[in-house]
């Protein structure tokens, strides 16, 4: 059972990848940048999910994936015109599919109504077309009865009994160990046959199908003969079997695949219906389906032979480029003008050239397909635990290395001695190892951005606003954990941006803005951190209203003097929510304070800037990794602290004359003509009651995430060092002003300062505490 669980887990991992690919492909098509291969990739993604889901008996998932796939197939074959509307439908279907995958994995109930509605819409999309794809789409639901013999079906039972219907299960006992690959398998098509026939009279010709099973097809317990038999049920067929590659008995692989069938099928069914028969084996065989234009069995013997030879050559070439998915082949034979190797059949090929002059563009398409087909060996799947263990160990190595360096220094060994030089090399090496290990965990933010495009769609639908999401910098790489934990905060920010930020279309027009609102999501690396901006072009923050609410809720005192930035910042205050009525969209019991907290838990910071009438921008600044940090080690009131280097602008020794008092307690320092707040870290963190003398201290100039500068007063600077972050939250709990902890070279624990929190702590936090104090007193 454990093995099964493991396989299932792998399946869901793959599903995640397929879903990402699906969405990626659809968005590419939406931007009109896609080509045939993009549609194929999209189709394959859904198909793979369906295939896997089938193996695990996830019926709901299979059913929906099937309907989805049928519509995609319509797009692929050109039956369904690719319009923006269709793409939207596809994207929403991808959302539903993703939900179903998630539910299959994590449990929970599917939104049946939504699935049903989506299914209906998909079927309608197929049905609009003259080609009767709709019944096929509806088939899976009816599948269980599908196997009832259709007229003309042979009375003999299907060879291997893998069809899951009761009719065939009498053989089930005999293949107990067979994989249940096609549990719900191939049935769907047949039931529709009559309908197909009845509905579509325009397809008077048929198809020529070339079907060459690979050994895998048999190995997966499918049988070629049953597929042929099913084809036969679609209409009159003429099967030609080429078994010329069959070796003599002493050389044969009993489980090899040597047959090469060419089937002329006279049917009114669609190509999709034909392909559907092969759908569970399509990657385990070479399959070509092309319409029979000249009618049934009219190809002269000679031409047929030539075609066959060409096929043989094409097959040989295909063999050479195994990477190309078999179904990627267009329904025409592709013949490369320049055959890679002179085959014995070269001459006939030339003769046949007019007949099969498929397309001059075919080789290019082929090459493109080959190029875009994933190389199987490019990646490996590694359990995250293993990577984390490696990261932990490397972290220990870094600590150990710095301890060693410190010991050597303490021993008074000269800087230029061999030992010291060797240690320097070791440090470089350690750093390189660390960077490489971190790179393993680094992932592009793309998937999370893609997920946001769904949020935008849904929220825009719900609020009746028209919104476009523009993303930039999707390839920015961040630690996987950071990415995973970004989903909720980003979702909330996007919801907020659309629900509260972007105006209703009519209001926008009245303001002279384009009717469609824009939400921008930009990721970029900035000084060792990743910065993600979520910006809308909406109305901006209504500061008066925010202020009023904050006063009403007792977050600030009515007479508090706040700057615009501070007012904007109030929306992050706990208990603040501007929505007067809780809307479906953003009022889900999470406020921006939760967003801020979760970003802080990641060692990140969030800030806001807003311009009335022009929109609001949230800026998230996150560490690239949660594992290491370059820091400046300082002492404050006898404590050793680490200030993240990325926040430090400069350090200086304040002069008496530069220090000015401001109000009751606050002090500022004059630097190059501007006044910068001076914050005593020791006092903010509660290490000492009395503020230190600035002249006796060192001022560390830091820049906070909203670009404002502050001077942090510390007692002394010890040095600069790379430290391994040990989460305080995981091991203890959140402490105000502290981002995390680390172990220093001498073995002591030092806390890493959360600079933003310290700065904020000396401002709005104080105001809040003040207000609370007043309220409590009252």
């Amino acid at each position: 059972m454990d093995t099964m669980a493991a396989i299932k887990q792998t399946f869901f991992q793959e599903c995640e990848e397929q879903l990402a690919e699906l969405e990626d492909g659809l968005l590419t098509i939406e931007r009109e940048e896609g080509d045939v291969e993009t549609i194929n990739a999209v189709f394959r993604a859904v198909h793979s999910i369906k295939g896997g889901a089938g193996a695990f008996g996830l019926d709901a998932l299979v059913r929906f994936a099937h309907t989805f796939e049928t519509t995609l197939d319509g797009m692929r074959s050109g039956r369904i015109e690719i319009t923006q509307q269709i793409i939207k439908l596809m994207l929403r279907s991808a959302d539903v599919l993703s939900d179903l995958v998630r539910i299959s994995r994590d449990g929970g109930a599917a939104d049946e109504a939504r699935v049903a509605q989506m299914t209906e819409e998909l079927q309608k999309a197929c049905g609009i077309e003259p080609a009767p794809a709709a019944p096929a789409a509806a088939a899976p639901a009816a599948a269980p009865v599908a196997i009832e013999p259709v007229e003309g079906a042979a009375l003999v039972p299907d060879e291997f009994g893998f069809v899951p219907t009761p009719v065939h299960f009498d053989f089930a006992d005999e293949q107990p160990e067979e994989p249940q690959v096609d549990e719900f398998g191939f049935a769907p098509v047949k039931i529709d046959f009559d309908e197909l026939l009845a509905e579509d009279a325009s397809h008077t010709e048929g198809f020529e199908i070339r079907f060459r099973p690979k050994p895998e097809l048999y190995a997966k317990a499918n049988d070629a003969l049953r597929l042929l038999r099913e084809l036969g049920r679609m209409g009159e067929m003429e099967v030609t079997c080429d078994y010329s590659s069959l070796p003599h008995l002493d050389a044969i692989d009993p489980e090899g695949a040597y047959f090469d069938w060419t089937i002329k099928l006279k049917t009114d069914g669609t190509e999709a219906a034909v392909r559907e028969i092969f759908e569970f084996v399509e990657f385990d065989c070479d399959l070509e389906v092309r319409p029979l234009i000249s009618g049934f069995v009219e190809a002269p013997e000679e031409a047929e032979k030539v075609v066959k030879e060409v096929l043989a050559q094409v097959a040989a070439e295909e063999q050479a480029e195994k990477a190309v998915a078999p179904v990627a082949a267009a329904p025409v034979f592709e013949v490369k003008p320049a055959a890679p190797a002179p085959e014995p059949v070269a001459a006939p090929v030339q003769e046949a050239a007019p007949a099969v002059a498929a397309a001059p563009a075919a080789p290019a398409a082929n090459a493109a397909a080959a190029a875009s087909a994933p190389a199987p060996s490019a990646t490996i799947r590694v359990d995250l635990d293993r990577v984390d263990r490696l990261i932990d160990l490397v972290g220990e190595l870094v600590i150990n290395q710095s301890m060693l360096a410190q010991r050597v220094m303490e021993a008074g060994i000269a800087r230029l001695s061999d030992v010291a030089v060797g240690l320097d090399d070791l440090e470089h090496l350690t750093r390189e190892i660390q960077d490489s290990v971190m790179a393993i965990r680094a992932q592009p933010v793309r998937p999370i951005f893609q997920r946001m495009s769904r949020v935008v769609r849904e929220v825009a639908d719900m609020t009746g606003k028209s919104v476009r999401l523009i993303t930039e910098g999707e390839n920015c790489e961040v630690d996987k954990t950071v990415i995973e934990r970004l989903a909720d905060p980003l979702t909330h920010m996007i919801r907020n941006a659309i629900d509260h930020g972007i105006e209703k279309p009519e209001d926008r027009i009245a303001k002279g803005k384009p009717e469609q609102g824009v939400v921008r999501m930009i990721a970029a690396h900035r000084s060792g951190r990743v910065v993600i901006e979520v910006a809308d072009d909406g109305a901006g923050i209504n500061r008066q209203r925010v202020r009023d609410i904050a006063v009403k809720k007792g977050i600030i005192s009515p007479d508090a003097q706040l700057t615009d930035a501070e007012i904007d910042d109030l929306i992050f205050a706990p208990g603040f929510s501007t929505a007067e009525k809780i809307s479906d969209v953003s009022g889900r019991g999470v406020g921006m304070d939760v967003v801020r907290r979760s970003i802080q838990a990641l060692g990140g910071r969030i800030s806001i800037s807003s311009r009335p009438g022009q929109g609001t921008t949230f800026t998230l600044s996150l560490p690239l990794t949660l594992a290491v940090l370059d820091g400046m080690v300082v002492t404050v009131a006898g404590q050793t602290l680490v200030v993240p280097l990325s926040t430090i602008v400069e350090t200086l020794q304040p002069k008496e004359s530069d220090i000015h008092g401001l109000g009751e307690k606050a002090r500022v320092i004059a630097i190059r003509g501007s006044f910068i707040p001076l914050i005593d870290v020791g006092a903010v963190l509660g290490y000492r009651e009395v503020e230190a003398d600035p002249v006796q201290s060192v001022a560390v100039m830091v820049e906070t995430e909203n670009q404002s500068q502050c001077a942090l007063m510390v007692d002394a600077i010890i040095g600069q060092q790379q430290v391994v972050i040990k989460s305080l939250e995981t091991n203890y709990g959140h402490v105000f002003g502290v981002a995390a902890a680390t172990i220093l070279g001498d073995g002591r624990v030092a806390v890493i300062l959360d600079v933003d929190a310290i700065v904020a702590g000396s401002r709005t936090e104080m105001a809040r505490i003040d207000a609370n104090r007043k309220r409590n007193a009252a």
Binding site: A154, L155, V156, P157, D158, E159, F160, G161, F171, E174, Q175, P213, Y218, A219, A221, D223, A224, L225, L228, R229, G232, E238, V239, T240, C241, Y243, L246, P247, H248, L249, D250, I252, P254, E255, G256, A257, Y258, F259, W261, I263
Partner: protein
């Protein structure tokens, strides 16, 4: 057919699992004239058809004789579906 013809009754199930044993069984008879009784066959898959076809070709090359007798409806049907004929499975050299 020569008098020394070996008579083999093919099993009811000729699916993928039967392919290997069938091949070995036939190989062991190589050089002899063989008659395969197909009357019991209830199911046959493509891979066993491959073995039987290969056997016929091998026997033909060897100059031995291979025949199929009393083909069951299931067998005939499978051959037909596969686009083959019963004569493809026969090696007549004498």
């Amino acid at each position: 057919m020569g008098n020394a013809a070996e008579c083999i009754t093919l099993p009811t199930e000729l699916d993928i699992k039967a392919a290997g044993p069938l091949a070995s069984q036939l190989l062991a008879l190589r050089g002899k004239d063989v008659m395969l009784n197909a009357s019991h066959i209830e199911r046959v898959g493509a891979q066993c058809l491959q073995i039987l076809l290969s056997a016929a070709a091998t026997w033909t090359a060897d100059g031995s004789e291979l025949t199929i007798s009393e083909p069951s409806p299931a067998f005939t049907d499978a051959i037909e579906i596969a686009g083959l004929e019963i004569s493809n499975f026969t090696a007549r050299n004498h």
